[in-house]
């Protein structure tokens, strides 16, 4: 307990950054992933091909490499300069969005084709058929896998520690510099992660109940 209390500054900064990364990358990947999933089912072949290429390239790359690119490669491109925190958020978003896209796509596949036909029959164009009829039902069907993706994202934020972002994964190194017992520090970090994941699981159960679609 002393390890936690004496170094509360480290824990607070660390987990604050973890949660910020999680929320920013979570919202970002939810939006981007949904757009990519929509492209994958679009009637235009070029859009489908672009979305498939993006998913296959980024999902098949280890997260460490994606973050390496943003920490080391990106600055050399001479584009807008971004700090490590932003770079980590962008990297995590691009990486997680591929998993979100596949979860959403599997949800789209669970919606009976008659739903889309009925939407088109009343005159809704493709975009509205998707956003008003298909996606709301698709999301409801994929709450469990979607939350698995977000739980993975929460834990993946620790990879950013390797790239000078002071988040939860970097607490141990800082404790070691202060001469605190590292094992105790690690256990505290693990415990707090378990609590955070519990909160996500709780939210998942609530949403599953609230959004049940009866056919």
């Amino acid at each position: 307990m002393n390890t936690l209390l004496n170094n509360s500054d480290l824990f607070i900064t660390g987990f604050r950054n973890t949660i910020i990364l999680f929320i920013v990358a979570g919202i970002g990947s939810l939006i981007l992933g949904t757009i990519v999933a929509a492209l994958r089912v679009s009637p235009i072949p070029a859009m489908r091909a672009a979305a498939t290429l993006y998913i296959n390239v980024v999902r098949n790359t280890p997260l460490t490499l994606v973050l390496f690119f943003f920490a080391l490669g990106y600055p050399k491109l001479g584009l807008v300069e971004i700090d490590f925190m932003t770079a980590a958020a962008v990297g995590l978003t691009l990486y997680t969005a591929t998993y979100v896209a596949e979860a959403v796509r599997s949800g789209i596949n669970t919606v009976p084709v008659g739903q889309a036909e009925a939407a088109r029959a009343i005159g809704l164009p493709f975009a509205q058929t998707l956003t008003l009829v298909i996606l709301p039902q698709a999301f409801r069907a994929v709450i469990p896998p979607m939350f698995s993706v977000f739980i993975a994202l929460l834990k993946n934020t620790t990879v950013a520690a390797g790239f000078s972002v002071p988040e939860a994964g970097s607490i141990r190194a800082n404790l070691s510099e202060r001469g605190e017992p590292q094992m105790a520090g690690l256990l505290w970090v693990a415990l707090i992660f378990v609590l955070l994941v519990f909160m996500l699981s709780y939210a998942q159960r609530k949403l599953e109940k609230k959004w049940k679609v009866v056919r």
């Binding site: 036909e117 005159g123 008003l132």
Partner: protein, 251 residues
């Protein structure tokens, strides 16, 4: 078959062909439906009658030929097609009510999003339609809470809410329990009496006799006969139709 001038027809199909792989499912179809006419399409399974119905609002694409609605040729995919579809009501065999929306929302979605009506007006009109088809009490429920017959009547109300020029019915009673078929047919007969232009694919010969202006008999992707109901049922011209009717009448 009498060929009417194209301008006279609300729905016109000219030389329509379609294949599903090797299967030639629509063979050189010509069909004209005038405003206010009720055309019932009957025929054995696999004769192409559902495909014909679905092709009219381009849920099925066609390979050759031309389909036009109110003088306008069916456009390719896109905004224009969506606009034209809003004028063509469609009722499906499996109802296809939006499962995540209430009955009222199912009916108001099109008017609000496609016709840009304000919510209050759309809801008022929707309630009137739901009352008319006899499910006003169910407005706040979800589709799965209703019986099949009720769901299908909601589906009719949803299509009517767009104030369509023509209504397509693709085997509207085939997925229903026998005791629910009549409640749906009653609504359709009423609609026919009010002068709605209707194309109905069905196995309900009673409805064809009662409400149809014309019966179109299809077999193997072709229109074999096109006649008034009493003519068709009492004096079918082709052997194919005689055979079909004899099988029906034995039960």
């Amino acid at each position: 078959m009498t060929i009417q001038a194209a301008s006279d027809a609300l729905v016109a199909l000219n030389g329509v062909n379609k294949h599903f792989g090797q299967l030639h499912v629509l063979k050189d179809i010509n069909l004209q439906v005038k405003k206010g006419e009720v055309v019932v399409v009957i025929g054995p399974s696999g004769s192409g009658k559902s495909t014909l119905c679905r092709a009219i609002n381009r849920l099925e694409t066609i390979e050759t030929g031309e389909i036009s609605i109110d003088g306008k040729k069916l456009p390719e995919e896109g905004k224009e097609l969506a606009t034209l579809r809003a004028d063509v009501g469609m009722v499906f065999q499996s109802f296809n009510l939006f499962a995540h929306k209430t009955i009222l929302e199912n009916v108001t979605l099109g008017p609000i999003k496609v016709k840009k009506q304000d919510k209050a007006t759309a809801e008022k009109d929707a309630m009137a339609l739901l009352e008319r088809v006899g499910v006003g009490q169910q407005a706040q429920k979800m589709p799965a809470q209703l019986s099949g017959g009720q769901q299908q009547r909601v589906a009719i109300a949803r299509a009517l809410a767009m104030k369509p020029k023509v209504m397509l019915f693709d085997e509207p009673t085939s997925a229903l329990d026998p005791e629910m078929i009549n409640e749906v047919l009653d609504v359709m007969v009423q609609l026919a009496k009010e002068g709605m232009t209707m194309i109905v694919v069905t196995h309900e010969m009673g409805f064809a006799r009662k409400a149809a202006d014309r019966v179109v008999f299809m077999a193997d992707g072709q229109i074999v006969e096109d006649a008034k109901p009493e003519e068709f049922f009492t004096n079918p011209q082709s052997n194919r139709a005689k055979d079909f009717l004899s099988k029906l009448l034995t039960h």
